[in-house]
Amino acid sequence: MTTAQSTPTIKISLMGRIMAPIRAVLDNPVLAVPALIVYMIAVTLILLGLNRSDPLFPLKSSLAFPPLVLSPFIVLSAKIDWRFKGLLVLAALFIFLPLIGMYDSSYFELVIQICIFSGLALGLNIVVGFAGLLDLGYVAFFAVGAYLWAMFTSPVDTYFKVNNMLVSANYFYLFIFLGVAVAATGGILLGLPVLRLRGDYLAIVTLGFGEVIRVLAVNFNSPTNFTNGSQGLDGVLRPTVPPFIPDIIMRVDQTLGIPISNANTLAQQMLFYLVAIVIIACIIVIARRLDDSPIGRAWTAIREDEVAAIAMGVPLVRMKLMAFAMGASFAGAIGVLYAAKQSFVSPESFSLNQSIGILAMVIVGGIGGIRGALFGACVVTLLNLQVLKNLSLQINNFKNIDAVMPPWLVAVILAVVGGWILWKLLKALWSFANRWFGNAKQAEQVRVVVWGVLVAAIALLTLQGSGFRFDDWPAQLEPAKYERLVFGILLIMMMIFRPSGLLPEPRRKMEMTAAKAEAEDGAIGGGG
């Protein structure tokens, strides 16, 4: 208990030292706007200045890109007039990000994937965050949307092709709405029988439903071919690019002199980006309006106490169905977009892991909050598709250029890691020794001796060592193979250090602390 009490004060002072000046600038209504503009321009310039032939490119890119993607969140946290906020966010979304995307289409791809996952996270947030229904099969509705568009446009010999039911690319926007409708219907159909189930029972049933949809996608190729089974549907149509997009790209190309390698792909990406932004904007507006309405209040009530809610006149099943259907419909819309973007749909994209990944986004970001869900989607997608990838690419680069880590650096790293582990061990040992002998002095002496040995070892390593050759990195430890391991560790860390999420809603944060305090009170007797 004593350490638990002393921790916060230290945390504040240490974190404060780093955050205080930044916070001060963001809280200053005069300074914040120019500072943010300078910040965004600076990050953009850094990104534009990066060069793929630089061996450090992966590292630099994953250090510079996330700050740009996350800049809207920084803007939103600043204490400035909402009009400025809006303008700055719009600038980030429609000037800086596309600019970087034009320069290097992999950033565009990333941003589009972030948008797709943001949409999904927002939808799931309604189900899990607002209404408190744990849905582990959310990806099923995503699949419904994706297959809807794919089946009606893929040139593969499916039922629809054979019966001349294919539609042209112009129907794309209509199909987004159809995706909404079909997925919502699916949500209601699933919800009707199962929404009477409580908590974890619902989780297993939705999990089952997610798998069922995937298995159906795999097997609905016989006797009549609807989904083309595990072969998937390729050649899915993409919406036609309206001429204004290439125009803009051309103009940007001419005025800024950014070399553009593939204007067609770029225009296509730009279109998806815009569509995705529009969809997400709609989802955000809808989610906010729902949250701030009798429906949203009923959902919160259900989440907090089902019995009380129903006794106060909240029709449980109806409200739950609404949450289910709303969440599903968003996934349906995003699914249509996804199918068009990938131009290929196969059951592999709709695994349980995908559902869990989306859930992780919602919770990592801060459950129940719109901003949290978006932030979680950004962070998790960036981690998964950029930061971790780049980490392994970076080490691979080092391997390729025969980089050698200087001995002193190896020593320092070893010292830091080893020191940290030793510190932990000693602390445990120390408290044990204290309790055992009641002699603090001796334990302290042991500690000094061990630290001395450590320092000596570092010195020795530095003098003698030959450094670490990246070429010696064992093939079995290929970093690319362990991205998921690192992701797992990060998930655990995030949950332990920020259990209320990275960007918790103020209200939920309070709930969290209160609940935790209660739990701790309860556990005291348990001798914790």
């Binding site: 899990v128 744990l134 029988p193 199962v194 009477r196 189930l197 409580r198 974890d200 029972y201 989780a203 297993i204 049933v205 999990l207 089952g208 439903f209 798998e211 069922v212 298995v215 159906l216 097997n219 016989s222 006797p223 019995v307 006794a311 869990i356 859930l359 992780a360 919770i363 990592v364 459950i367 064992p474 079995q476 430890l477 193979k481 362990y482 998921r484 391991l485 992701f487 797992g488 560790i489 990060l490 998930l491 655990i492 949950m495 332990i496 259990p499 209320s500 969290m512 609940a515 935790k516 209660e518 739990a519 701790e520 309860g522 556990a523 005291i524 007797g525 348990g526 001798g527 914790g528």
Partner: protein
């Protein structure tokens, strides 16, 4: 599993009845009951569906298939049941789904492999007596998996106690990702591969099928299926005694009833939770090594499917209920085995739809019994 009341004048026969005969009898009833249902359904389908009716060839085939189907179902069911116990125990105490439990199962199977491989590498495997070998392998993996479960709880769940219930869930998913790749890394470095083949191929006694005659048909039963069944029964009996007949078990039950009150009663809640994880984990580990011996090869990814199935089984039986986990596991094993055996004869469907039908059964059961087969109807205090 049985209602308990510590009686002061406990005679040996009473003890035997309560902790050995009754649970075994209960399992027998479950097995026989499930078997009868499966048989009736199989024949019903054979008579009803594919033309011509009644389809004599099909009935004959099902005749030949049934004994094997039943044994497969039971052994599968026991594996599910043993894993499901881990889910159910943890759920009972902490009210959260320990998603990492499937990886504990995997870990148990890998440890079982390591032990057996080491014995084999030492050239001793042929000279060990079969029961001793099995006991050593299973108990080592039980201890290791149990300890791992305790460690996981300590590192990844305890700091989150009191957080919203989804938070430990995500932490568990993190643990699950971490464990698979960590095991893979270790195996890849030390053994250069991660398809871990139990040295069962060298053991003639383990590979020899056991011919069992059922009327005119003879079925080759794999000896490993029998081992699973016997091992599981023994352990479930022990478990029943532990939970219902010992002081520690009473502590666990007290904590699962009401953590705060239990702590006020002087029960060390943290210890009890660790103990629960140890027991659940060791059952997962035992299931893992038995499973490994049965299937011959395990990988760091082997936990996923049985994990999900066992979770389903736990829910089917009523999560939090120990007998329910057993019943759910057996029921699910039977259902799967039955569907696998029968769907083959429906060309438009086929075994591919086994999972769909299993889940449909689950949903149906949950609709009529919203808290699972044996879950107590939770009438909330209003």
């Amino acid at each position: 599993m049985v209602s308990t009341r510590a009686t002061t004048d406990r005679t040996i026969t009473e003890w035997l009845y309560r902790y050995v005969l009754f649970p075994i009898g209960q399992m027998l009833v479950f097995i026989v009951g499930a078997g009868v249902v499966v048989m009736v359904l199989a024949y019903l389908l054979a008579f009803l569906f594919p033309e011509p009716r009644p389809n004599i060839v099909l009935v004959d085939q099902i005749n030949r298939q049934l004994p094997g189907m039943l044994i497969a179902g039971v052994s599968l069911g026991f594996v599910y049941a043993m894993i499901a116990l881990g889910y159910t125990l943890v759920y009972g105490v902490l009210k959260f789904i320990n998603f990492a439990h499937s990886e504990i199962f995997m870990f148990g199977s890998v440890i079982g492999y390591e032990v057996m491989r080491r014995i084999s590498d030492a050239g001793a495997i042929q000279s060990w007596s079969p029961p001793l070998l099995i006991i050593v392998v299973v108990s080592v993996s039980m201890v290791c998996a149990g300890l791992l479960a305790v460690l996981i709880e300590r590192v990844a769940y305890r700091p989150l106690r009191g957080a919203p219930r989804l938070v430990p869930l995500i932490s568990a998913i993190g643990v699950s990702l971490l464990l698979t790749d960590a095991v893979r890394a270790i195996e890849a470095i030390t053994r250069n591969e991660f398809n871990l083949t139990y040295p069962t191929n060298d053991l003639a006694w383990l590979k020899t099928p056991l011919p069992l005659a059922f009327g005119e048909t003879t079925v080759n039963v794999r000896i490993t299926s029998i081992i699973i069944i016997i091992g599981a029964v023994l352990m479930l009996v022990a478990m029943n005694y532990f939970v219902n007949g010992t002081k520690l078990g009473r502590g666990i039950r007290a904590v699962s009833q009401d953590m705060t009150t239990a702590s006020l009663m002087g029960i060390n809640v943290n210890f009890m939770i660790s103990l629960t994880f140890f027991v659940g984990g060791s059952f997962g580990g035992a299931a893992g090594s038995l499973f490994g011996m049965n299937v011959g090869t395990v990988t760091p990814y082997v936990g996923f499917t049985p994990g999900i199935k066992a979770f389903t089984a736990a829910v089917l039986g009523g999560i939090g209920n120990v007998t329910g986990a057993l019943l759910g596991g057996l029921a699910l094993g039977m259902i799967e085995s039955f569907l696998n055996g029968i769907l083959v004869y429906f060309p438009a469907l086929g075994q591919r739809y086994t999972d769909i039908f299993s889940f449909s059964v689950l949903i149906l059961i949950l609709i009529f019994r919203p808290s699972g087969l044996l879950g107590e109807r939770v009438d909330e205090k209003v």
